[in-house]
């Protein structure tokens, strides 16, 4: 049984690392985003292996279902997709690579491996182990972590509003053709409140003027 778990862990680890490496190295940004999704999936699987079921499901729901879709949307809205003929990495990427590799090889890995972690002994196989599930989490959110929970809620709301405010685009490019129903309703509107709404005749010279100015 242990061998199965070890193999599974190995497969998941390799999958995560390969996907992550592809994310940072692939030229096509869409492919990078898709590899990122694969990486999120691998992390979700790792959570499942670590018996954090709720977290695994949340990982899939939020990262795969929402964040990655957001990223894909952003990529498509910014239209820099294929990356043909465009450098994807900065000029200093070897330096960065060296820093990252050195950080991992000389600092993180040796420390993590050599540290005495004093992990409490695992219970023998087969005995049920009390693991905190979603119910305990829910209780925790409304008791000891209530303040933090509220703060995260406020943060999300602020982020929502902020994202809208930042990405909001004035509707500058409006279509100039009315549908039949709109024409109708406009006419009725004018009849109701004729003084407030400017007639199109008045607006027309302005448009023409600005156009001619831009032509010059």
């Amino acid at each position: 049984m242990e061998v199965v778990v070890q193999i599974t862990f190995g497969v998941i680890a390799v999958f995560i690392l390969v996907a992550a490496a592809m994310v940072v190295s692939v030229r096509n940004v869409i492919h990078a985003a898709l590899w990122l999704i694969a990486c999120f999936f691998g992390v979700g699987a790792l959570y499942m292996l670590l018996e954090a079921e709720f977290l695994a499901v949340v990982q899939v729901l939020i990262y795969v279902g929402a964040v990655s879709v957001l990223i894909l949307f952003a990529i498509m809205l910014t239209r820099q997709i294929t990356g043909e003929g465009v450098r994807q990495l900065t000029n200093r990427w070897p330096v960065v690579l060296a820093i990252a590799t050195l950080l991992f090889a000389t600092v993180l890995a040796p420390t993590l491996i050599n540290q005495q972690w004093n992990v409490p002994p695992a219970p023998p196989l087969g005995t049920p182990e009390p693991i905190a599930g979603p119910a305990e989490l829910g209780r925790g959110f409304v008791n000891e972590f209530l303040i933090q929970f509220q703060v995260v809620g406020v943060l999300l709301t602020v982020a929502l509003i902020g994202a809208i405010v930042i990405a909001y685009e004035e509707r500058a490019r409006r279509r100039k053709v009315l549908t039949l129903a709109e024409e109708l309703e406009l006419k009725r509107l004018r009849e109701q409140t004729s003084p407030t709404v400017p007639a199109p005749v008045e607006a027309e010279p302005v448009v023409q003027e600005s156009r001619s100015a831009s032509e010059r």
């Binding site: 039949l180 129903a181 024409e183 109708l184 309703e185 006419k187 009725r188």
Partner: protein, 361 residues
């Protein structure tokens, strides 16, 4: 606020707008109303509906098994009528339909009296290209003798394209058939059509103008009638009339003979039409046909005449001597083709002539 049906004049026309904020469709009520309508349709759809005046019920007709009830005025492809009793076709080859046909798919040749060579108010060959016909029904409307009518038959699909060029033999339908598919429409024209037919029959010698597949039967019946008329003397009976007394056409015409004869007639006619340019010009018609047309017509006529000659050499002459021979089908076909071509050319010529005449006068 305006009244609910809000009417307004815009440059593109007049528009009636239904108010959006109808109180009956507020708060999702409109959705429920729409669903109720569809529910009624679903519920009622298990009942067959054949009345066409109701909006509920299933209209579907299981086509190959069930046939739709076709209204009388339905029109698909033109057919030719013949009289059930006498076997005479109503068509007099007046060329009205050929002229009016928008896609130009009707072709016909007039029958001639073999004895005198004069045209007879009957049709010798009648061809409609069903594949190009657009079912407009102009031919049926224009026909002064009610000879051409629109059929209700619509299962015409075939994998043989040539089959869609339909000849007279396949076009012929008895009047009783048309009376059965369109009783009121036939009743309206019945009197005048039959009266005109009687007039035409009088001008048709022998079996000309009789539907081809009936020729034999009618001839036999006539002979019988003749025999009955000559019945009093029993001595005459053994020398049974058919063979000697009936003219050559009254014999059973083998298809080959028929075709040969037809080709000969057509070729002769074409030749006449082609050659007749000069006589008609001499005969006082003021305008000369435009040279190009004239030439084309002449060429076609010569070609047709040659073909006809060839055909005549092989079988018309033997037929004249009373020796029934079998002409080779290839020749027959060639002759037929030539005849049609010649006829077309002649027709074109004729049309040009008539235009010229009009202009001249």
């Amino acid at each position: 606020m305006m009244e609910p049906p809000f009417e307004i004049e815009i440059p593109r026309g007049r528009v009636i707008e239904v108010q959006r904020d109808d109180s009956r469709v507020r708060r999702g009520g409109g959705l429920l109303r729409g669903m109720a309508v569809i529910w009624k349709h679903w519920k009622e759809s298990f009942r067959l509906n054949r009345s066409y005046s109701q909006i509920h019920g299933t209209f579907t007709i299981q086509y190959p098994e069930e046939k739709p009830r076709i209204p009388e005025a339905y029109r698909n492809m033109p057919i030719l009528l013949y009289d059930d009793e006498t076997g005479h076709e109503l068509c007099t080859s007046c060329f009205q339909c050929e002229r009016i046909c928008p896609p130009q798919v009707i072709h016909m040749t007039q029958a001639k009296d073999p004895a005198t060579g004069k045209p007879v108010p009957a049709v010798a060959e009648f061809i409609i290209e069903y594949d190009a016909c657009m079912s407009c029904g102009f031919c049926a409307e224009v026909c002064p003798f009610d000879a051409i009518k629109m059929d209700h038959e619509f299962e015409l699909s075939t994998d043989d394209h040539a089959q869609l060029t339909v000849h007279k033999a396949q076009l012929n339908r008895p009047i009783s058939y048309y009376a059965s598919i369109a009783p009121t429409m036939w009743a309206e024209v019945r009197e005048s059509a039959l009266k005109k037919l009687q007039g035409n029959i009088r001008r048709r010698p022998d079996v000309i103008g009789i539907a081809p597949h009936l020729t034999e039967r009618i001839a036999a019946r006539r002979a019988e009638l003749a025999a009955q008329a000559a019945a009093p003397s029993p001595a005459a009976e053994p020398a049974s009339p058919p063979a000697p007394s009936a003219p050559t056409e009254a014999r059973k015409l083998t298809p080959e003979e028929k075709a040969a004869k037809l080709a000969a007639i057509r070729a002769a006619k074409a030749a006449q039409a082609g050659d007749g340019v000069t006589p008609s010009a001499e005969g006082g018609t003021p305008a000369e046909a435009p040279p190009a047309d004239d030439k084309a017509a002449r060429l076609a006529a010569i070609r047709a005449a040659n073909a006809a000659k060839k055909a005549a050499a092989t079988d018309a002459a033997p037929a004249a001597t009373g020796e029934p021979t079998t002409p080779t089908p290839a020749d027959d076909k060639a002759a037929r083709l030539a005849a049609i071509r010649a006829a077309n050319a002649a027709k074109r010529k004729q049309a040009a002539d008539s235009v010229d005449t009009e202009e001249g006068s």
